[in-house]
Symmetry: C2
Subunit: 353 residues, 2 copies
């Protein structure tokens, strides 16, 4: 259930609006002035903020400002509710970075539409979201709603990709960005000796290859299906429009990229100075956390030794030797290509030391 923070000083208005939202099955947090609103937002990090402009203590502009300056709350979609419909006011609101501006009085449907639209778009870039094709359709509708000019309706096709088939090659021009509807792929680069280095594993609900778009429109890596997959192809322009147009999506994207950079740097540090043994432990934990069938139980991950080796950045044989060591020590268990973690704690200790 989504949580909405409603900041409104007028008690009647507040209760009325809250009621509408609750009927629409949102959890509603209420605040009677800007200062309280900011406090609540910081503590609870709602999924969306509705905010009046004229309020005692701290006005709506102030609230937007305070929230926008904190990374945790900056990405939360923000909608102004105001009785002021004049050009200057509306413009000021939007310029400050609000995502929408509703003038009172508004229809229930207006309000709910505005909220839903925001939440849906915003949703896409949550990490680990689990919307399958339905979510994609909504996304496509949004992306298309953005586009009043071109008729791109025909591109909403999906493509079946067989195991081992390549989705795109390094250097391919990506006119369409693949979105994983079902299945898993690995992305990797090949160095001059022909050795592969796996840069990522991706499952349903993720875009792949978008990084290349931002650089030069060409794929930076090769993507290959690890199992039979279903892939939707999103026209690159739609994706870019989405990333660039909405403040909240942009911010979330920035944070995602920053996270990516951070992970990469940790990986670098590991590769540079950690032993194969440590790197293997690290990789096992990462892969397990991402793709284990069952997170809680120490159930297995299906991955070939070769792929795992090229995540670790070592020769396949070295990896295998390391795995057998770990197996003998009772940290993991292997059955064919299935690898199960038996003692997560000791493995973590090994990885980070």
């Amino acid at each position: 259930m989504k949580t909405i923070l409603l900041i409104e000083d007028d008690a009647d208005m507040r209760e009325n609006t809250a009621e509408i939202l609750e009927l629409a099955d949102y959890r509603v947090l209420k605040a009677e002035n800007g200062r309280r609103g900011v406090e609540v937002a910081r503590k609870e990090t709602p999924d969306l903020v509705l905010c009046d402009i004229m309020m005692p203590e701290l006005d709506g502009y102030g609230v937007l400002h305070m929230l926008g300056r904190n990374p945790a709350t900056a990405e939360v979609p923000f909608i102004f509710l105001s009785a002021k419909a004049e050009r200057g006011e509306v413009r000021k609101g939007m310029e400050l970075g609000a995502d929408d501006y509703l003038t009172k009085p508004f229809e229930e449907s207006e309000l709910l539409n505005a909220i839903e639209g925001r939440l849906k778009r915003s949703e896409l870039f949550r990490k680990g979201f689990d919307n399958g094709f339905e979510g994609l359709n909504q996304f496509m509708d949004q992306a298309r709603g953005v586009d009043a000019l071109k008729d791109i309706g025909r591109d909403r096709k999906t493509r079946k990709v067989a195991k081992k088939e390549v989705v795109f090659h390094e250097g391919d021009e990506l006119r369409q960005v693949p979105y994983m509807v079902h299945g898993k792929v690995r992305t990797f680069k090949i160095n001059n000796d022909g050795k592969e280095f796996v840069t990522g594993l991706h499952g349903a609900g993720e875009f792949i290859g978008y990084m290349g778009l931002l650089e030069n429109g060409r794929a930076m890596e090769t993507a290959e299906a690890l199992e039979d997959c279903e892939v939707a192809l999103i026209p690159r322009e739609d994706l870019l429009a989405l990333l660039y147009k909405d403040r909240d999506v942009s911010i979330r994207f920035i944070k995602m990229l920053a996270h990516n950079v951070k992970e990469n740097e940790q990986h670098l540090l590991q590769l540079a100075y950690a032993s194969v043994r440590q790197r293997v432990a690290q990789a096992l934990l990462r892969v397990h956390g991402r793709y284990a069938e069952d997170q809680n139980a120490s159930l297995g991950v299906q991955i070939s030794r070769e792929d795992l080796a090229s995540i670790v950045g070592t020769a396949t044989e070295s990896l295998i030797r390391c795995l057998t060591d770990l197996k003998e020590e009772g940290l993991i268990d292997t059955k064919g290509r299935d690898i199960r973690i038996l003692d997560k704690q000791r493995l973590e200790k090994l990885a980070h030391n």
Copy 2:
């Protein structure tokens, strides 16, 4: 000199405006309709676009749309010029992602101010910009102009940092983000064995440590001065507001991060499978490209063997051995800590193979 693309169908209006801009020392590209405008923008990538809304062929909304969907032009600040002042029109323009909206007729000063403001803010995140403290002041004015609420005027101080002094430690809470006014610093992480891995070298005109802000507000690495430095401390909220508020800055930031990710991944690939020799060649070229006193001549870079080793990700002795090899082969020359590249081509060949 900055280039401005002016898209306006009315010939008088176009010539008048162009004249004003040329007097203000901008290079002006003119287009008489939207379609032409988009063509010119794609070919020349101006620094800013001024665009009328009502035009034949393709209207202003369409132009904004087309440009916004192409990564190369999306980051260019975009200002609407329109005779339509009604609420709906203005809002539509801003919502589509314009950076400003001027209603005709406008004063010369209005126009020039709007342009200048945009360009200045936008300027900060150009890679390799060379504005020293003057640029910073302008930036601070902008950042402060954004802020109508808090009085942060007192924080515009700079700090002198002596050689070898630490600017911030990994894990420090960064309430202020350092901006390099003068000098060089290195940023590095320390692994559990106490070994350092250099993640970056930064010189004048760069922010350092901002990555941590986006994650959890804490520094992800340690920054240490390589020489006597002057550092300005920007309140983190100002920086965040700047990054988040302006569409063009956000987009540029996204691209910067994406570039970062790409570089990191190349680095990963190198570390994983390239020999020390190749990695050294790579590192030399990177460091040289970034910090050589003179780019053209094969003049030297001053860097300690230890630092270079921890960029390469190897033991200091291994690095030194490699350097002496390269020296014997006539690829480089060393004099004390000064390293000069003698044969860039062969070094490049070595690095990428």
